[in-house]
């Protein structure tokens, strides 16, 4: 069995595609360097990420299929799904080997699976846009945190930057321990030494909250409770649309 190991980044994975053609060696399994500690076999090939090689594969994808496909692959990569890198690799190989543009050929297993996975990541991105809840700090910065299933924060940042252009804000991924800070001019990536919020509910310490913060959380809960219509209750649908894993971060559900 041939195993290829890549440095865990999208660039690393594209380099792997490049190397596989250069060496004319096609792996049965590909693993990233942070999942492969325990299973290094003698025939594992380690690939060092290389910007130029990755760039060539990227260009090839755009040329043979489209910019949209290339973006889709990049977004699927962020899913951190166990199958993601394998599917991206398979897609690239099919793309090279089939004489036509495969991106809409859903009768090919990897193409269909990729589009499914892409939809999942897109759905999680949408959920982050929906369920992010800012808390106002005593310094008038708006702070939010949660733990999304996939690593989608980078995909949401433009949205928040456009929308909340006149307030300073921080959005933090508690699971992956990094976030983004918008300082009224630009949005920068940040990492705190200690988690800034309680991972149980995403709340910052009471002492750091602005004077109005509790008011607004309570008002929002009041609003939420007031609009429920008893005659229409449908908990199954409710849970399907508002997955339980988000509840702890939502003032209206606490």
């Amino acid at each position: 069995m041939i195993i290829f190991r890549y440095e865990n980044s999208f660039e690393g994975l594209l380099t792997l595609v490049f190397e596989s053609y250069r060496l004319n060696l096609f792996p049965d399994k590909i693993v990233s360097d942070n999942e492969s500690q325990t299973m290094i076999f003698s025939d594992t090939v380690s690939i060092v990420a290389d910007e130029r090689k990755a760039e060539r594969v990227w260009k090839k994808i755009i040329e043979k299929s489209s910019k949209e496909s290339a973006n889709m692959l990049q977004i699927v990569f962020l899913s951190e799904h166990p199958e993601a890198s394998g599917l991206i690799y398979d897609f690239c190989r099919l793309m090279v080997e089939k004489p036509y543009n495969i991106e809409t050929d859903f009768s090919l297993e990897p193409v269909l699976k990729l589009s499914r996975l892409f939809n999942k990541v897109a759905a999680e991105t949408a959920r982050v846009r929906m369920f992010t809840r800012f808390q106002e700090t005593s310094e008038n910065t708006y702070y939010a945190s949660f733990s999304p299933k996939y690593n989608v924060l980078p995909l949401c940042i433009q949205h928040f930057t456009d929308r909340f252009a006149d307030q300073e804000w921080i959005i933090y991924d508690l699971k992956r321990n990094y976030g983004f800070y918008y300082n009224l001019i630009e949005t920068v990536r940040i990492t705190f030494e200690e988690l800034p919020a309680n991972p149980e509910n995403g709340q910052i310490p009471e002492s750091s909250k602005s004077a109005d913060e509790q008011h607004f959380q309570k008002l929002w809960k009041k609003y939420y409770d007031s609009i429920s219509i008893v005659q229409r209750k449908n908990y199954r649908l409710h849970r399907q649309r508002l997955p339980k894993r988000f509840w702890k971060y939502l003032p209206e559900k606490n």
Binding site: F106, Y223, I227
Partner: protein, 429 residues
């Protein structure tokens, strides 16, 4: 200085509680980018920020400015003759509340309605001051949907349209006689006039904007309206005919159907309903989708012979059963619109089929992968296979009807969820 106080809690409770029966949740249809340094934007896809116990999308803060109404509509909880807690927001108070919620990403914007205070014009003026406060003082660019009070003057409607993304005038009851019977202070004229006025203004504004680039948009997300379903004896045909006309002739963006909830059981003009007609409401939304996205005409769905929708099956299946000679459709050859007519194939799967069959002859395995609901579609299609299951031609409509009915029992609860999807996703109906 914030205008939020202890009293705000009670007002919020009363005025949100009073507005909740209004179903339209859409905050979509506008592309409003933030002005530099301003707050908020509205995207073509309205975002839901939470879901209520019934799975309704919470996107806009839906609230009344006041429920102190001088009218006495039979179906309304806020009617004058009800002994019901009353409250009225100060415009600045409501604006502060909206901004506080928006900055925390709780909402997409504001959906403002009101009972009639003093008279229609006075009420509109108060509502406009909330919206003006948001747009002019807070530089708020989020979404604003504003109700137009029937009977208010055209000057005020013009003014409202300058600030709001969407205006709506609710028809509530689809025929004039029934409207008079249930809402004696309202009349058709006072509702239709603003609807026509808004359509004309939107058209005029579109022309102006072609000529002068600087002209401000007038209700960029257009107008919508709502019917109460089941408070009067109007048929689905009457309702859908009117909806169809509003879409075609008045360019309405959405028509909402709200199953009547019995809040005034004492009023003998109203039908006795123990539960709201949710299934009928759901079927009307499905029919509405067929009108807007599937190329169906009203007469295809309801007509003289069948004035009401079949409650047990979705209107697309019903259409197929009534027109068996159009089926089966050949998946590998039929054009997009014929594919769309197949129960179990929605716009998304129709598109995927059209794309995928260029490369490969499709069989039922591919169709399943693509997301076609084979449980329903199987009777209405043929594909590249021999000995595939029997179609409506061999089985006859009556039998297919039974087969589909038996097959769908378990999925009914899920199907009912369609009524407030924020965007036309690919739900195959």
């Amino acid at each position: 200085m914030l205008m939020i106080s202890e009293k705000t809690y009670d007002k919020l409770k009363i005025l949100a509680g009073s507005a909740k029966y209004d179903v339209s949740c859409a905050s979509s249809g506008t592309q409003r980018s933030n002005t530099s340094g301003g707050l908020g934007n509205a995207s073509a896809w309205g975002i839901c920020h939470s879901y209520s116990d019934d799975g309704r999308c919470i996107s806009l803060m839906k609230i009344m400015l006041s429920n102190n109404c001088i009218y006495d509509c039979a179906y309304c909880i806020n009617r004058r003759s009800n002994d019901h807690p009353r409250a009225t927001f100060m415009p600045k108070e409501l604006a502060d509340l909206t901004i506080g919620f928006y900055r925390r990403n709780y909402i997409e914007g504001l959906f403002l309605s009101s009972g009639v205070l003093r008279n229609p014009d006075y009420t509109m003026e108060q509502m406009i001051s909330v919206v003006k406060e948001l747009r002019a003082n807070h530089r708020f660019n989020g979404y604003i949907h504003m109700k137009v009070i029937p009977g208010s003057g055209s000057e005020l409607i013009n003014e409202a349209g300058k600030w709001a993304d969407r205006l709506s005038v609710n028809l509530e009851i689809p025929t004039e006689d029934n409207l008079k019977f249930l809402a004696p202070e309202k009349n058709y004229e006072s509702i239709l006039k603003p609807i026509h006025l808004i359509t004309d203004k939107i058209n005029e504004n579109r022309e102006d904007r072609k000529r002068f680039r600087k002209v401000e948009k007038f209700t960029p997300a257009g107008q919508s309206t709502q019917f109460v379903i089941g408070a009067s004896d109007d048929t689905d045909r009457t309702i859908l005919k009117l909806a169809g006309r509003l879409y075609d002739q008045r360019n309405l963006k959405r028509v909402y159907y709200s199953g009547f909830i019995q809040v005034n059981g004492y009023d003998s003009r109203l039908p006795v309903l123990t539960t709201p007609p949710l299934v009928r409401e759901h079927r009307l939304y499905q029919a509405d989708w067929l009108l807007r996205f599937y190329g169906f005409g009203v007469d295809d769905i309801v007509n003289n012979e069948h004035p009401d929708l079949d409650l047990s099956l979705d209107p697309k299946v019903v259409y197929a059963l009534r027109n068996p000679w159009l089926f089966p459709v050949d998946i590998n050859k039929a054009d997009y619109y014929s594919l769309l007519k197949v129960p179990g194939i929605g716009p998304r799967s129709a598109r995927l089929i059209a794309d995928a069959r260029i490369h490969n002859h499709l069989n039922s395995y591919h169709l399943k992968k693509i997301g076609v609901v084979m449980k329903r579609a199987q009777y209405f299609i043929t594909c590249h296979e021999l000995g595939y299951s029997k179609t409506i031609q061999e089985l006859k409509p009556e039998f297919v009807r039974q087969l589909i009915l038996t097959g769908q029992k378990s999925t009914d609860a899920v199907q009912l969820s369609l009524f407030n999807l924020p965007v036309p996703l690919a739900t195959a109906i």
